[in-house]
């Protein structure tokens, strides 16, 4: 691969091409007329893809290590559910409320934690996540506690939902692509690699950290809300730490700091863990091992592996 390919703009373009290819392939999956269940699995896979994209925007592109994505998904799911449960509000009111609400919360959390670094940031966001979960899980009168709330569905028919979620993934990736190609994307990358240097190069670091944090929270909230309307149930389990761990692992396995990586990782990890359900449900054991192996030995993730192969292939073709 010629050196110029290493320019960020080129890397990003290649990335998006691969993602669109992947999604184009996913378009044909329903033609295999799968059982509604398998479609459901794929849809949940897409949900995780959205979450992975959101978390990667923060960790992979801005270097902010949040432990709260799942919590924001839960909040995003509960806002419309509570509106529906207490006021009978429709989803069309609920969805914007979810996005705005989680963005606002993300902004507030961001303003408080983004001065903190590394482990501090991880721990505070983790604390926030747990507070949110304990609060929702234990406010039995208000949220029906850990049994969760029912949400109205957005559309009927798995196929419809499948393409809807697929479209969301494409849309979200495209938006992130546009952001990362703009100069603001450049700022985020600079902050990721060296916040102090970025600051003295004239980039208002805190403002852009906050920006990324808010956007990411909003995406998570939206994803959670969509997931709720698909499964017609939101429960505190959406916000479990394990969920965040799952998301992080997806990004790591797929390849952090890219767009295709998280999506690929989300789909593969979720599908494989669903298959492994059937082998004496040891999926969690196998899955955990898998994650450790990847984090330890394939740090660039599948995306990195792919790029490596691609590069070698290219150079072979040259000589």
């Amino acid at each position: 691969m010629s050196q110029i390919e290493n320019l960020w703009s080129r890397r990003l373009a290649r990335d998006l091409k691969c993602l669109l290819l992947l999604c184009a392939l996913m378009c044909f999956v329903p033609l295999l007329d799968l059982s509604p269940y398998t479609l459901g699995i794929l849809i949940i896979g897409f949900y995780f893809a959205l979450m992975a994209l959101a978390w990667n925007l923060l960790a992979g592109f801005t270097g902010q290590f949040s432990m709260a994505p799942a919590a924001f998904a839960m909040i995003g799911g509960y806002i419309p559910a509570l509106l529906h449960f207490h006021l009978g509000a429709s989803l069309w009111l609920g969805i914007p409320a979810a996005v705005i609400g989680s963005a606002a919360l993300g902004f507030l959390l961001g303003t408080t934690v983004l001065r903190l670094k590394g482990p501090y940031l991880a721990l505070t966001t983790l604390a926030f996540a747990e507070i949110a979960r304990v609060f929702i899980g234990n406010s039995h009168e208000f949220t029906r506690g850990d049994q969760g709330l029912n949400l109205p569905t957005l559309m009927d028919g798995r196929i419809a939902y499948y393409y809807f979620f697929l479209a969301l993934v494409v849309l979200m990736s495209a938006l992130i692509f546009l952001l990362m190609r703009s100069k603001y994307g450049g700022y985020l990358l600079a902050i990721r690699d060296d916040a102090d240097a970025a600051e003295s190069r004239g980039i208002p670091v805190v403002r852009f950290k906050l920006f990324a944090f808010t956007i990411s929270s909003a995406i998570c909230g939206f994803a959670g809300c969509m997931y709720g309307s698909f499964s017609q149930l939101v429960s505190p389990e959406l916000g479990l730490l394990q969920q965040t761990g799952l998301i992080i692992s997806m990004v790591v396995i797929g390849g952090i700091g890219s767009i295709t990586g998280p999506v690929l990782g989300a789909l593969l990890v979720y599908l494989s863990s669903e298959w492994l359900r059937d082998v004496g449900n040891i999926q969690l054991i196998v899955f955990a091992l898998l994650v450790m192996i990847f984090a330890r030995f394939f740090r660039t993730g599948l995306w990195g592996i792919f790029l490596g192969i691609y590069a070698r292939f290219k150079s072979n073709k040259k000589n």
Binding site: G145, Q147, G148, Q232, S235, E237, W275, L290
Partner: protein, 404 residues
């Protein structure tokens, strides 16, 4: 990477194997959603699994139903509503089961019946006590499980007979716990209005209930009611004992979860379990059917434990499924549901029929047998406990013992 590949290959092979068996003698698939891994109560899940397998073998030994063997498809709900929902979804849409049974946690039931209702598949509730499961009024849902309102009524009657003045309940913050605690409150108002009753909700994930218990120390009530499930309930019991709040010559603990016959009860509470008064859904002195005897023997052989109420509840839920198929002469959901609505079912705990009135007892086996008994020694087997109230018999509170 090829690690993943290997795994998937393995899985694929396994799936093939399963499906091959299935196609060999087209069995009737019944979906079972139970907790097989934490955070849910796996102990309950394991008991239910054993019991169901025992009954399945009994049925298949007799040539199955409609000449077809029964096959159980187990799914792990992890005791989480979300997982339960997707488990039932899988059972119905992927495995194409004719009915769902086995669920044993109200919060999980409440999310699962939504799915069963959506796909109009019969759903027999094995052990979800919360009234809200019945109040939904879904025609697909039938309940062989105990239910909060009957438990509350019986506990209120017992408390009345004890002539207590003050009762404090510790309720876990779930639909089951809070539901039962509230139900007990209303039942007490009706039965014994002069009893001073209040309940505290506790976070069942917390490991230290001492603060809540300490508040009772200055002026202990006559009875401490626990509407909590193990393991939280075990910890609460131990801490009540170690703080000297109960059991004492003044105060008795009254368990509303029927946990005294759990196989892991005594290995978790020692001295603290002595003098525990509990409502039980099973007691060896209940009038045995020959089914229950067979089950008891088989269960003892399989696990080495004495059977308990959960075993029989599980069996009964499968009985309803199997017999409804037999009576409907079909595995068509509608016909099965019709049969369930009208039929009589000879279960391990007696003849089951289901109430058709909307509300807290909708599609519930109303006159479900229960007992009240007291543990009088550490490591005591349920058989040797003091029976305060036999099934369907009047309460004999005179037998109740207090520590010296």
């Amino acid at each position: 990477m090829n690690y993943l590949l290997k795994k998937t290959a393995l899985v694929g092979a396994l799936l093939l194997g399963v499906s091959f068996q299935a196609s060999a003698a087209e069995p009737i698939l019944v979906g079972i959603s139970i907790t097989q891994s934490p955070p849910g109560s796996v102990v309950q899940g394991v008991q239910i699994k054993d019991a169901l397998e025992i009954y399945r073998d009994l049925v298949n030994a007799k040539g199955g139903v409609l000449g077809r063997p029964i096959q159980l498809v187990f799914e792990d709900s992890q005791g989480l509503p979300e997982k339960g929902r997707s488990a039932v979804e899988k059972l119905i849409t992927k495995d194409k089961v004719v009915a769902i049974a086995g669920s044993h946690q109200s919060s999980v039931c409440l999310s699962e019946i939504e799915v069963a209702h959506r796909y109009q598949i019969p759903y027999v509730n094995t052990n979800c006590w919360a009234d809200s499961v019945r109040e939904k009024g879904y025609p697909e849902v039938f309940n062989t499980s105990p239910y909060n309102s009957v438990v509350a009524k019986s506990m209120a009657a017992t408390l009345k007979a004890m002539k207590v003045k003050r009762v404090v309940a510790f309720a876990e913050n779930t639909d089951y716990g809070i539901g039962l605690a509230k139900g007990l409150g209303t039942a007490l108002k009706a039965a014994a209005p002069n009893v001073d009753y209040k309940f505290e909700t506790l976070d069942r994930s917390s490991k230290d209930f001492t603060p809540a218990i300490l508040t009772l120390k200055a002026n202990p009530p006559d009875v401490v009611v626990l509407t909590m499930l193990p393991p939280a309930a075990y910890i609460a019991l131990n801490q009540l004992y170690e703080q000297g709040v109960a059991p004492t010559a003044k105060t008795i603990v009254y368990d509303g979860a029927g946990m005294a016959d759990y196989p892991d009860f005594w290995q978790n509470v020692k001295e603290a379990g002595k003098y525990l008064m509990t409502i039980g859904m099973y007691h060896p002195e209940m009038n045995q059917t020959d089914l229950s005897r067979q089950i008891a023997v088989a269960y003892k052989r399989k696990t080495g434990n004495d059977p308990n109420r959960l075993i029989f509840q599980a069996v009964d839920s499968l009985v309803v499924v199997v017999d409804s198929i037999r009576q409907a002469k079909s595995t068509d959901p509608e016909k099965m549901l019709a049969a369930m609505g009208t039929g009589k079912f000879e279960g391990a705990r007696g003849t089951m029929t289901f109430d058709s009135h909307q509300g807290g007892t909708y599609h519930q086996w109303v006159d479900i047998p229960y007992v009240n008994y007291q543990l009088t020694a550490v490591n005591q087997a349920v058989g040797n406990t003091t029976l305060l109230q036999g099934p369907g018999m009047p309460l004999n509170i005179g037998k109740l013992q207090y520590p010296k």
